[in-house]
Amino acid sequence: MPILLSICFIAAVLAPLVHRLCPKYTGAKLLAAPLAMFVWLLTKLPEVGHGHSITQSFPWVRKLGLEVAFHLDGLSLLFAALISGIGILILLYTQGYFKGDPRQGRFLMFIIAFMASMLGVVLADHLLLVFIFWELTSFTSYLLIGFNHENPAARNAALQAMLVTVLGGLFLLGGMILLADAAGTWRLSEIITRGHEITQHKHYLAILILVCIGAFTKSAQFPFHFWLPNAMQAPTPASAYLHSSTMVKAGVYLLARLHPALGHTEEWTLILTTIGTVTFLLGAIMALGQHVLKRLLAYTTVSALGAMVMLLGVGTKYTIQALSVFILAHAFYKATLFMVAGGVTHETGGETSVDQLGGLRKAMPISFACAVLAGLSMGGFPPFFGFVAKETWIHAVWDFPYLVVATVIGGAAYVLVGFSTGLKPFIGKKPEGLHAHEVPLSMRIGPIVLGLGCLALAFACGPIGHHFVQPAASAVYAKDLEVHLHLWAGFNKYLVVSLVTLALGIGCYLLRPFFVKTAAALKPLAKFGPDAIYQFKLDATLRFAAWHTKKLQTGILRDYIRVTVVSAVALIGAAFWRAGGYQGWENLSPISPRVAIFGGLMIFATFATVRSKSRLRSILSLGVVGFCMALLFTFFGAPDLAMTQLVIETLTVILLALAFHHLPVFRHGSSKRTRTIDAVIAAAVGVAVTLLVLAALDVQTPTPVSDYYLEHSYKEAHGRNVVNVILVDFRALDTLGEITVLAIAALGAYALLKLRPKKEEAEK
């Protein structure tokens, strides 16, 4: 598994290169990576189908106990097969969609990188590894939504999706850490066997809520659903892949994966069922009023994700079975419809509104056929796989009357959307001036395979149920289930409900113009929706940032010094306050006369420097301070320092004298008030630093490192001058760094003085 995943990532990196070297059929060449993964998954099907699972791991950061661990069971197999299988078709589709576009290589890189990350999410067994891949999918999704980066709407949508999902990711990380703590392990395969301990744990509710927020943001659940329809700014291959069939299901996957650990409690059922049902209905109802092809599909995707969460929330063995079937059915029809919709828009020169499309059946017969297959499957008509899914679903929720009602309403909306996207563009009269022709072969393969799949799966639903659905559902339910799917289960009450839904849906479709009008009339209400709240918060954050930057960054040096210094003094003062003031007065050594004299001279010279009104006098008194420093160094056993200080002092005076030539005399005075405040602050600093120095003297290091230097200087480094030995031997690397800094400072000064723009030279 790690090898196959790495191949996918490598393919992503190579994509632009491959495209540059031989731009023809790039997608076809690169699909080797997902194909390898897909074939490998199929070979593991029998093993996993018998309830076995495969684990592979190797250590990563040993000290932290991190490992790269992968785990394949029924659930991950279902998802991984969908991701890699649809991935193959999407790569082909991309090749046609971006034909002749120089950006194709870049797009392929992003989408393959996404695919690899997504495979990582569903295959990883270590929680942190899941998190890393999870964030990678958010990141690649950002790149894909914002792919048309010259379009501001695309940039905003990308940022929005990123902010929402990454924010959710942070919650998820918190939840994961608590979860690992409660379970005592980071391995998912072990966590799911400890459901009893986790649900009894005192942090259970926190874990559940945090994980749910993470999953809900990713899977566009209410109230975080708004980013998904906006994400339709992405190029169609990305929409079809990320935002319908794979990435948005990561949240559902995670919840399903953790169901054995976190599920079977009242809280779980309450949160997931409520949010799921609300999202399901909201998405369905919002879809009714849309007319843009991709947005119609996006809202039903939101709705479908809600349905998945809802089914998972109920958590009986029938709903979990229905969930698995629905995931499969949804991936097939939704990806087909997206690809057809993209094809239609692509071939009609950018037409996106359903109402402006019609009569394309002659121009695009194959797309038409695929769209019909998928659209009917979406509506839940027999004999399509969507019908099988709906039957299983109604059967599963039969004991919950309000969920049955919700299903009927939502189902009707699906019929409407299925018709609008699958039929409407192709039948009826062709509007004037609409020219179109069939999409190229590479863009046909995907819809054909998946569209026919909607039909084929229905007829093969027995084996599909046994080999795909059963292992997945068993993994979610954590008990072995027997799944039997039937295309025709006989004439029973579920079928009646199903037929009622279809009838209602057809009715809705006929009333569609009314819904679109109502939606347009209700548009002003959008400013109270979550999208508007998001925008408001974002704007407020930016305004706050601008405001406090303006307040804090005045551009006046004095203000910065004041803020820094006053904070430092306050902190030092607080520390002394807590310690009850400085205690060590009696421990101080007696004062020798020479130190007192030169110390006093230094203080005097410092004041003279500060008070001086002329440049020369201040430089000279600064020099006096420096020479006194040198003397103090000799008093306390530091001849090296004294020597260096003396030379440096001389040089500083020379340098200042050279430069002051070019600088004016002191001519800017501050107001008396400013000077007084500054003097008070300066005095406070002086007192604080004095106390700090005295307090620092009381700090005793148990074994000072300098003892080692004194001990070993001559023995090992052949030097009697310990200071020099430290500089050139013990800590030579530090010295190397310091002389590098010196060299850079000199180069900087040289560049400032010597390298000037030509224009300025001319002006002189």
């Binding site: 530091a638 002051f660 005295l694 003297l697 004194l710 310990v722 003085l753």
Partner: protein, 115 residues
């Protein structure tokens, strides 16, 4: 002994910062100089004053008879003195160029980033 040095350090810090809060570029540089003196002396004093014996081994001896002054702060300060000289020199050059380009040596007027 420490008290004297501590007060000197306090005076250097206070004086240095006061000068850095003035409006003339030259005062800013001189303040920087005072401040670096203060910092060097602070490291020196905080390392502990252990008498006037230099950490230099006498000819022929292999061990220190008396515990000498701590060599580590000295090594730190030695480089710090040279570095602060380079900083002062660099600041000088920078201010000189700023003065020539912006046309003022009033620190309070240098508020905008794109003049």
């Amino acid at each position: 002994m420490e008290v004297v040095l501590a007060i000197v350090i306090g005076a250097l810090y206070g004086g240095g910062l006061y000068l850095m809060m003035r409006r003339n570029l030259i005062q800013l540089i001189i303040g920087l100089g005072l401040l670096s003196h203060g910092a060097n002396l602070l490291i020196f004093t905080a390392g502990g004053l252990r008498g006037d014996v230099a950490p230099i081994l006498a000819e022929g001896a292999t061990k220190f008879a008396v515990t000498p002054a701590d060599p580590l702060p000295q090594a730190l300060i030695l480089t710090a003195i040279v570095i602060s000289f380079a900083v002062t020199a660099f600041a000088l050059v920078l201010f000189l160029r700023t003065y020539q380009t912006v046309g003022t040596d009033d620190v309070d007027e240098m508020k905008e980033t794109d003049t």
